[in-house]
Symmetry: D2
Subunit: 334 residues, 4 copies
């Protein structure tokens, strides 16, 4: 029998996790929730529930058919993926506890809410059988994907990384800025400590800036390795790391724009790029100092991690590599 | 037996037409051409041919396997879709004539090159059995789609339209401007006369500006109808017009950004929106004066028109509505 | 003795009017107000007053010295320019009436608030001696500047214009959209009726869209003249119209970006361009149909109008051309 | 008698240096050159010469009056500032040698061309009496301004910096990208070695990315100091460093957009910001690790350095602090 998954918050992440769950043979979507009857509510093919029971009337007025409230949905679920905006997931936890439903939280919540922060390659085992787990944010996922195998194979003395962040997601047509760069003034930024919720003894310092684009974050990363390594050694490690993919400037892939176009060319659902993209000809090791640039599709890189997380929490699979392989095959990740 | 289609120029339009042909049951792609061995060449699943025979060596050096040159490809084709950049198609015409292959040109070419300019609803019959036909550009297609049924049902005294154009396609990461508006100084713009290549006696004057976005053109249109009509009458006509689709600001679809997101939500190939999008709550008729705003997905709206054009030229179907319905069903257009 | 001018709302327009007043020999700034002690408050050289008396404490806490409240300022003023955000000016009117101070409102307020809407060339006389006058918005000012002389010299049958609007002012780094075009769904837009508050019997219909730029609005205008005219005739009329300036694409001025650069090259205060900019090689008359493109510096084009308005209301000058000449000479508008 | 300065290349830097020279009492502009008779040529108030003698005719055709060629100009000059695009200055050196004229090159040229790379605070003395000196680029100037005093007062173990670069200058309305981030794939970037042309034994590694904005570069900098220091200690050092200026996010200066607005509010020529802007509330020292964010006005920060460089090369002043003070006072830098 398939694991029954509910999505509470059918937004950027929620709708992608719903699609990804639907492609797996060991789990299924039993319903998704929305707070307002907007165009997304009208278009979804999943059974729709109302996230905020008081809003039931507005759905009726808008002529949008619903199957009940979040309460009704939780009664049927084995596990819920909370796709609410940051910090709102925390408010939902008591409801999930009361309903006796396991819950996956996303990176907008604090580590302490779940006690376990998850990245499939780095710490799959820590989620096995757990009731509450947090899948780390898109940026933290990106850093874990490329840093964990380096940490494992070469050791890392320290990491300095700057996150150049998109300002808004593509459909978010109110947010700016239009022509400006905005530094995150809290330094070091929260990304370093967040990586440490997954890889506790990694020495990492980060800064962040917001720039006027809607597509992808970009990380400029400088790593001091413990062991000397050649550029080829590092490339080999990543070549064998799931969900890390190379592109080359020499092939015409100069910017995040062409990466998003590649996702379209690959026929990906919603034109998503689940992999962390590393510019192969932008990797360079000088002694023990490694420089690289990677691009993060903020809307989708955590989606396969959510699937693995569900599988670990519900004891569907205890072996991380088997789960990753199964997830990726179903989602078209080579 | 299926009609054998070659794509000469596997770029923005070419790759989309290739995918769309592949979804039809009465035609098939036998090969596509590229001029350079870039990442697109490396990724395509279609048999690859070299558009410029002299460049054969660069493909070999890059390790990209090809099946031959454009000349080899034309020998096997019934019809070729020329997806070259504007004005290059004209240079190819003698080659097509010599090879005895029919050719579809795109809107970047002049009307005179083919003698017939095509929009499925407006003048399907004019392409039946022809050797050379030009499918009009994305903007002209957009204007024809919404204006033709008004012209047919109410008569049109005159049209004034301003095209607010995207400056570059999404993957084109060199072009700007970043923070500027650029008027097209040639007035009236070429769009009006181009619509007249399809609907000869339509009185239409246009202007155009370029703005710093990569997604969709937007048309602000003011039409003086010959017959008085209500707003509902106009909406009804478009409701029954293929490839015209409504959205509503009241549902949260405020800008071109949300329209592109809808295409992703609809699961469209490459996240394309083939339909011309009219804001339903942005249509207003005041006496005989109609105001409306429409959005044009410049990368894809002409794709179904190319399919219909192939069908007309190769005598696969003589009835325009049957062809449109067949094309749309195969492509997932409601 | 100089006319004593207060600025209530030292924002985008307020700070520019303050500077412009200071350059005149018949008026002076006696104080400006701010609601919050931000960096602008800390930098201004004008006597600072608190716009909202309750906020006095926050200025003290921030260590920003103030001279009193708006009430204190009004006691000394002959006239106040209300630079508040739209609709807030209306709330201030009773305060001005009670203080017995004349007031200039800006285009964000309704016509009815003042009863007189002002453009120097079109209806200077209507403001003479008045207590309350509204200077129309940047877009309406732009339309009046170029349309009024055509209306006067050739007659106008009708105007269709599309306003391609910047989305936010340059320092407004929160607003978007970043990569989208947003139509104003209310059609026709309010700009047409607003022009009619200045030129009552002009037949004009407008539409508007927002685009991702911070610099200048651009108008695409199609005018049906009553009398036939040549392109040269129209250019001659504008050549002799104050505050209308030509640029040429042929000289390298292709977009709003180069126009803003010209303002820097001209050494203008705050790099402002007070004139309405018409592309000379983008003007074309075909029979009675005139096409033109004009760019509007939304932050500053109304500033000289405010000066003339003050002069008319306070009876400093009854002749419009004399006032315009005096204003322009002091501000460096040739 | 004033030092006679010629500007060869009246572009972004050239026109600013011309204005800055004109404000000094010990030097004067005797002429500027342009290659083409565009709108900038038509507007300049400086005596105009033709940079490329063969183009003399095009200036005549365009009706732009010139005083001669670059050769004529050099005959009268004591020193020339070469404002040509990168690498073109190198082609001009033999001409300057032949004419016996000293020359200032800009940061687009290689260090070896002049043999001395200049930043006023860091190595003024190295330029005294020299015939050829290169003023380093905007980014290198920015790094030298804030790093040199730290290096002098605390010692620096190493610096890691990421340059988030604007893609085009404001009037450059062709360049993009519109919605993308583009990493510089050559790592480490050239900025580190370039700083070492000024501060030879500084250990610095840099990376760079291009983002879709036209205003200011932003640097995210992490410095390992040799001596422990408090955040206040670092702030004190910069407080006493010329041409470094603080802003605070808490005062509403969140992004590069508000910094550019401050320059307008300060009444700066062309709305320029000559100082390197450090966010005071974005500086943090943790042990010996210092984090800070600084913004660089790429069009103007090198302008005062050019003035000091002229003064050193022509022996007008041997004391760096006196030259800096004199330059800054004349340019309105407090």
């Amino acid at each position: 029998m398939k694991v029954k998954v509910a999505i509470n918050g059918y937004g950027t992440i929620g709708k992608r996790v719903a699609d990804a769950v639907s492609k797996q043979d060991d789990m299924e979507i039993i319903g998704v929730t929305k707070t307002k009857p907007d165009y997304v509510s009208k278009m979804t093919a999943y059974p729709l529930y109302v996230a905020v029971p008081e809003n039931m009337g507005t759905f009726e007025e808008a002529g949008v058919k619903v199957h009940g409230t979040i309460g009704d949905l939780l009664k049927k679920a084995d596990i819920v993926v909370d796709g609410s905006p940051g910090k709102i997931g925390a408010e939902h936890k008591p409801m999930y506890e009361k309903a006796g439903v396991k819950a996956v939280f996303e990176g907008g919540e604090k580590h302490e809410l779940a006690g376990v922060s998850f990245n499939a390659m780095a710490n799959y085992d820590s989620a096995i059988g757990k009731d509450f787990v947090r899948v780390v944010s898109c940026n933290t996922t990106g850093l874990c994907r490329t840093l964990y195998p380096l940490y494992r194979d070469f050791g890392i003395d320290n990491v300095k990384a700057v996150m150049i962040r998109r300002s808004a997601d593509p459909p978010d047509s109110k947010k700016g800025p239009i022509n400006a760069i905005e530094p995150v003034l809290k330094v070091p930024s929260h990304h370093g400590p967040d990586v440490q919720t997954v890889i506790p003894d990694l020495n990492i310092s980060t800064m962040a800036v917001k720039v006027p684009t809607t597509i992808m974050h970009l990380h400029s990363v400088i790593v001091e390795l413990k062991k000397e390594a050649g550029t080829e050694d590092v490339l080999n490690v990543w070549e064998n790391t799931p969900r890390v993919k190379f592109v080359r400037g020499a092939d015409g892939v100069k910017s995040t724009a062409q990466i998003m176009e590649m996702a379209r060319d690959m026929g990906r659902n919603r034109s998503d790029m689940y992999e962390i993209i590393v510019w192969k000809d932008g990797v360079h090791v000088d002694g023990k100092t490694l420089y690289y640039s990677q691009a993060i599709h903020q809307e989708s890189d955590v989606v396969p991690e959510n699937i693995d997380c569900i599988r670990a929490m519900t004891n569907l699979e205890k072996n991380k590599l088997k789960s990753i392989e199964k997830t990726d095959k179903a989602m078209g990740i080579n």
